[in-house]
């Protein structure tokens, strides 16, 4: 396994992966990918709406436009594989099998939510589906994922863990220490950088003096790849290779999915650090539109079929939101009893 020489993937705006990959994958897999991407998109649009209606207390981090990275990555997992998530993690949570209503409930701070309303959007955990939770401290999930991988290795498990983080997170010391530890112990973890080009407002081209984050893999003697992160199949293919590599006991690797967030960093963002053109250009590269087009072009699905999946996703989200809004609120008694495990 060695890094491909990916040249400015984004300028080509085309899949490096042969479209024929789509033909080799089971149809349900492709349907699943499209469905989860649509669910993620609609979940976040709904989240925005609920926020605007004043139903959400707190901040949120939307990944609209970035859906191919988490969904293509998680598509490469077996069901009992694991993930460790970060603050911009709605797509990851959905792809890993979360019940959308429970998830929406957590987003709204409700008692039946995934964290009983204690965590919120940034900390959704879903152990049953292998989502080991998310931290809001940038980079701090990386060592935790390495610890998850260490436990897997010590238990002689065949499972693999995907560790998600952003471009900005790779400048934290936690990134460095963690990749080094995972490498010397050959742990079954794939590090996935959702490179959406910015931290909060700082372009990764200014936050580091290298043009590809994947070169950082070299500092740990592990493979590194840069992928067109708006091409769900390209993401899938590369991550699959890395997951197989990890499962075979060959250790960690680093995948950088180049993508872009259409919305601001969070609700306080006035988008002053980037141009409307840049955002427009990236909206042209919508990962969902591109995937639908590919499915049609390769005659795997008709427009009607892709739109049915799309519509079903929308309905799932709408229904979940309706139910979640009516969920009961938690009450503050005895919270002290929740801090320590018995």
């Amino acid at each position: 396994m060695s890094s491909p020489d990916v040249q400015e993937l984004l300028d080509t705006n085309s899949a490096v992966v042969p479209e024929s990959l789509a033909l080799t994958l089971p149809r349900e897999k492709l349907e699943w990918m499209l469905g989860k991407m649509c669910e993620t998109r609609y979940f976040e649009e709904k989240a925005e709406e609920l926020y605007t209606r004043g139903l959400v207390h707190g901040t949120m981090h939307l990944s609209i436009g970035m859906e191919a990275s988490p969904i293509g990555s998680i598509a490469a997992l077996e069901p009992d594989d694991l993930i460790v998530n970060h603050h911009r993690g709605h797509g990851h949570t959905i792809a890993k099998g979360a019940d959308i209503t429970t998830m929406m409930g957590e987003f709204l701070g409700k008692e039946p939510g995934y964290c009983r309303g204690r965590g919120g959007s940034m900390h959704i955990v879903d152990i049953a589906h292998g989502n080991m939770g998310a931290t809001g401290v940038v980079g701090s999930g990386i060592p935790i994922a390495v610890g998850v991988a260490l436990a897997l290795q010590m238990k002689h498990s065949a499972q693999v863990v995907l560790c998600f983080f952003g471009d900005g997170a790779t400048n934290e010391g936690a990134f460095h220490e963690s990749l080094n530890l995972a490498s010397i112990w050959a742990l079954p973890v794939v590090f996935i950088c959702d490179n959406n080009h910015y931290g909060m407002s700082m372009s990764y081209r200014h936050s580091m003096n290298i043009s590809k984050i994947s070169v950082r893999a070299g500092a740990y003697g592990i493979p590194g790849f840069t992928v067109d992160g708006n091409n769900v199949l390209a993401v899938y293919q590369t991550v699959k290779e890395c997951v197989d590599w990890a499962r075979a006991g060959k250790g960690p690797s680093l995948v950088e999915n180049l993508t872009y967030r259409w919305r601001g960093h969070s609700k306080s963002d006035r988008n002053l650090y980037r141009t409307p053109q840049e955002i427009q250009e990236w909206m042209q590269r919508c990962p969902i539109k591109r995937f639908k087009q590919l499915l049609r072009d390769s005659q795997i699905m008709s427009e009607q079929e892709t739109e049915t999946i799309d519509q079903r996703a929308k309905e799932t989200i709408d229904r979940a939101a309706e139910l979640a809004v009516q969920m009961p609120e938690p009450t503050p008694e005895n919270m002290e009893d929740e801090v320590y495990a018995p």
């Binding site: 959400v56 207390h57 707190g58 901040t59 701070g109 409700k110 964290c115 309303g117 204690r118 965590g119 919120g120 940034m122 900390h123 931290t135 809001g136 401290v137 940038v138 980079g139 900005g168 997170a169 400048n171 934290e172 010391g173 931290g199 909060m200 407002s201 700082m202 200014h206 936050s207 580091m208 306080s268 963002d269 006035r270 002053l272 650090y273 609120e329 938690p330 009450t331 503050p332 919270m335 002290e336 929740e338 801090v339």
Partner: protein, 333 residues
């Protein structure tokens, strides 16, 4: 108190004004932190500063709190006066070595051959629905770390004056800005001014009970005192303003007068700054005048939850202060 000519600005603007005026005055002062440039910082504190001072002195950093706080320490060692913005006080967990092991100790450890004029500004506290990792009040840690001063203003006026003092101080200073104070307004003179460290402010006079509270809790204590007055309880509200150095004299003097002390802070009550304040009172002559035990009202001993109701119930609110003060004022009577 300086004349303000009726001018009112927000706490946030007051913080910015102190930075801007010091940066105009002293070319060695500069600001460093994440997204402080065109974004203006997560809370907008540095909005516009990039335009005036340029990217050299409004220096954006990658997400590397340990790194840039250490860098600030090194720059301070060279005679620069960096102001570091930690986006949320919670992330100071990443910079504890830089602040406590390096910046705070260098002067002593190097036998006096160094001084580290470094200000670390950080927004603290809950109330914005940001949950456990973005809502903490960690001031107590730094009280137990010799070599670093701790400031926690409760008003726009104090924020400007104390930050100006902090920037001119030749030592590391942790400057805590409660998020919910940012939008509060107060009278603030346009001209630059300083407020000395180690001078508490008696925000309200009273004879029945002393409430000691800082940062946002000083504001809540004042509101509580107004309500208590309606019930005939006259509370004296003392705001220490700087937690280290601490104006023990003013606090003790007030408690000796009222005979009752209630300490209020947002940090979890156990292990919070309240214990230090209790000791300061109990170890003083005020002990002999105490008509009731010194009481602490702090945050609950839990991480801050996300849900709004839970979050509100986690830290002292005005009504909690009223209730506790009322009970304490009656105790032993």
């Amino acid at each position: 108190m300086t004349e303000t000519g009726g001018r009112e600005v927000t706490f946030l603007e007051a913080v910015r004004e102190a930075m801007v005026q010091e940066m105009r005055r002293d070319p060695t002062v500069f600001l460093m932190g994440e997204d402080i440039g065109i974004y203006g910082g997560a809370f907008g504190v540095s909005k516009g500063m990039l335009d005036e001072f340029g990217p050299e002195r409004v220096r954006e950093t990658p997400i590397s709190e340990a790194g840039f706080t250490g860098v600030a320490t090194g720059a301070a060692l060279m005679g620069m006066r960096p102001i570091v913005e930690i986006m949320f006080l919670d992330f100071i967990t990443l910079a504890m070595d830089a602040l406590v092991n390096q910046a705070a100790k260098m002067r002593f450890m190097f036998g006096g051959n160094a001084s580290i004029p470094l200000v670390c500004r950080a927004p603290s506290g809950s109330g914005t629905g940001a949950a456990a990792q973005h809502s903490q009040s960690l001031e107590a840690w730094f009280i137990n770390a010799p070599g670093i001063k701790v400031v926690a203003p409760s008003s726009a006026y104090d924020a400007k004056g104390l930050l100006t003092t902090a920037i001119r101080d030749n030592n590391p200073v942790l400057f805590i800005e409660h998020k919910l104070l940012y939008r509060t307004k107060g009278a603030v003179p346009e001209n630059s001014y300083t407020i000395p460290f180690g001078k508490a402010e008696v925000r309200r006079q009273g004879k029945d009970i002393t409430i000691i509270a800082y940062s946002i809790m000083a504001q809540r204590a004042l509101e509580a005192a107004t309500r208590l007055a309606e019930e005939g309880i006259e509370a004296e509200v003392v705001d220490p303003r700087t937690l280290k150095p601490l104006d023990v004299e003013t606090i003790v003097g007030s408690v000796a007068k009222t005979g009752r002390a209630l300490i209020v802070h947002e940090a979890p009550v156990t292990g919070g700054f309240g214990g230090e304040l209790t000791s300061a009172i109990v170890e003083s002559h005020a002990f002999d005048y105490l008509d009731a035990p010194v009481r602490r009202l702090g945050g609950r001993n839990i991480p801050i939850p996300y849900n709004r109701t839970l979050e509100r119930a986690s830290v002292p609110q005005v009504e909690d202060i009223v209730e506790t003060a009322r009970a304490l004022a009656r105790e032993g009577k």
